[in-house]
Symmetry: C2
């Protein structure tokens, strides 16, 4: 079977399964999720054994400890993944609700019913927890998935997806509601991106290279996201000592995630005093800096780890204990910098001036805009959504943290009495 | 200036203008629309003269009368376009409203504010009214547009867009909120589709070839739509004489539009009697038929204009007085046929059996699903939306008739008290 035939087969099977899933009641879907939870528990030993094969291969291939840690499952982590299923069971199911119902002048009774998207393709990296997380969120909303995980976790993903398929069968549902692409050939990714006859949406969960590949090659709607070049603007009116805490939190609390702070913009009226203190505190925490020329001049004689910033460094998502710093003459210069360099993820202003905060909220066009808060809050769980499918940085369909609702669409239903259009 | 430089310049200008438009009050936007209406009236003579050049060129190039009629503006048509602006002024402006506002457990006050998409690219064919319609709908929602019209109407579009730009200037707004691509080079279309740094959404308003080009080449989110392979299933329980009226309406009332009927599926229990009568009525109206083998056998001795249907003809959007006909053994065979051949636009069932109608509404996955009504109702105005930007046949962002709301997105705004994530 050629790759194209293989993908077409997956697509057809997914589409067929999607019709069986689309009209399940919430009770049926929750029973399925509980069955998945039970089957994962029953098969703990096999799952950990498969994961150990991936870990051994990763070690043999010289992967870094950090990468190995990302793909590692142990009984505690697996128990955590299983416990999360219970949380999803407890979430409200958006599917089936109707809105905008009305009697039209033409005599039709019209309603908008929320329905599953259908078939969702998910492309992700070497995190086996995503296999379970995304399958569970998709099934909760009556969707089916085609999964393409990272090559380093193929053995783990095969076992995990087979366990989920067993649960589907036990519940009398088509096992093809969850399918894993069982090869790590890269051509299968581009092939999946063009399976528009069968797949309704692609979610890439990975870095810039994967996001660009999807934007360039997909003929299916893609949810781009997860890339955060996040800014925080310190206004001259801000409470400086409380501000330092928030800035440190935004940069240091978990520097490897997309909502961590990348660039600090400081009003020139408070820059010299504030930055001296901030750099001292942050340097002690291991932070290094890429700064504008003004900042460099201010701290030319210092011991801080300061490098010259460029347009390129200001457009970098650091994902590390590195911070861009720029002194600005006013709030509009800060906003202009953000418009030029932001990825549209999360930006914040620290200020006690209501005019400045309103101006910032109005003028900054990102998924999440904060006043006097850390950028680290952009997260489905922090936003009270109960789940997170992805964090969208595009404007169509869903923006910012995406939860169950973003896995649905709607159809218009209209009922007449043998009604013709006049 | 190279084509790429030209497009980049358009993109930058559009993005800059988008920030000026995004926070206008509804009053300001309506004043702008009224000014456009006035300027179009004042410049009627110049607009009609430019259109006459397009018409003369079209005649010289041997375009069909139907095509020339599509691109023709006369004073009555232009007055109609101007009158439509008043309708848009009277629509509610969705921008600026907030929803889902709540106080989170982490202390943040969170809200979702509706905001314009930003920059919308629209690619359309030789209908100069689209230039005004789409600019007005975009401006009403605080968006800016980059327009690429059909080459046959370039002269008309240049004058129309200049008149709109004059109105923007008169209102103290950036004229680049409306920009027309001033050349008909096809490479500019593919270039526009990849301007993802500046353009937030592409709306192609045109046929299958344009839709596929956009799906294949765009790195910007695209709203595919406007292609309707529409089905109507006649159940054995239907009121047959009332059904014939609806079927004829769906096919004949305006055969050249996307919501016109393409394929009739008839339950075998009523096929012979019903079709004999229907074919007689429809033949008198000039309809020809592509039918399944059973139907052909039934009418082998008839004078009806009947051709053998194939998988390909059943996947054709006719846009003419042609109807596909297939006799099915039951409702599920009808649904299977629809799943295989539909473009996801509009489908209908005619039936007096509530079980059949519910089953059909649940199982058919198209933008609009009708019970006892013509497919011809899928339309922004018929659905009470007041406007129609496009009819989406994809599932992300908007489905079916898209109105003002589909030109918006939202941003999350969160306010804390120097709040860090714990």
């Amino acid at each position: 079977m050629s790759q194209q035939q293989y993908l077409t087969t997956l697509g057809k099977q997914a589409k067929a399964a999607s019709f069986a899933l689309a009209n399940l009641s919430s009770q049926n879907k929750n029973a399925l999720l509980r069955c998945i939870s039970e089957q994962l528990t029953l098969n703990t030993e096999a799952i950990l054994a498969a994961n150990d094969q991936d870990v051994q291969a990763a070690k043999a291939n010289g992967l870094t400890d950090a990468m190995i840690d990302r793909l590692l499952l142990d009984s505690e982590r697996l128990a955590g993944i299983i416990a999360d299923i219970e949380n999803v069971i407890n979430l409200a199911d958006p599917v089936g609700s109707e809105s905008a119902s009305q009697l039209l002048d033409n005599g039709l009774r019209l309603t908008q019913r929320k329905v599953p998207l259908g078939v969702v393709g998910v492309i992700y990296e070497a995190r086996p927890n995503v296999t379970v997380d995304i399958a569970v969120l998709a099934l909760k909303t009556g969707n089916v998935v085609i999964l393409r995980g990272g090559k380093e976790t193929l053995t783990s993903n095969k076992v995990l997806s087979e366990v989920i398929r067993t649960a589907l069968t036990l519940q009398g549902l088509p096992e093809d509601a969850v399918q894993l692409i069982n090869s790590t050939d890269r051509d299968l990714v581009t092939g999946l991106l063009r399976l528009d006859q069968y797949v309704d949406m692609i979610i890439p969960r990975g870095g810039q290279t994967l996001q660009r590949l999807c934007a360039e090659k997909a003929s299916i709607p893609v949810i781009l996201g997860g890339i955060g070049i996040c800014h925080l603007y310190l206004d001259k009116s801000a409470d400086l000592s409380r501000s330092a805490e928030v800035i440190i939190n935004a940069k240091v609390q978990r520097p490897t995630v997309c909502n961590a702070l990348d660039t600090l913009l400081v009003h020139e009226a408070v820059a010299a005093e504030f930055l001296a203190d901030l750099f001292t505190q942050m340097s002690a925490l291991g932070v290094s800096f890429y700064t504008c020329e003004k900042t460099q001049q201010l701290f030319a004689a210092s011991q801080f780890d300061i490098h010259p910033a460029t347009d390129e460094t200001f457009s970098t998502e650091w994902l590390s204990l590195t911070l861009g710093v720029k002194i600005v003459t006013d709030i509009d210069q800060a906003i202009t910098h953000i418009r030029q360099h932001s990825s549209g993820h999360s930006e914040a202003i620290l200020s006690d001036d209501i005019n400045a905060t309103c101006h910032f909220m109005n003028q900054v066009d990102s998924a999440a805009v904060y006043v006097n808060a850390s950028t680290r809050f952009t997260d489905g769980s922090q936003f009270g959504l109960g789940a997170e499918v992805a964090v969208s940085t595009q404007k169509l369909h869903a923006r910012g943290p995406m939860a169950l609702d973003a896995l649905t669409t709607y159809k218009w239903l209209a009922t007449g009495d043998y009604t013709s259009r006049s």
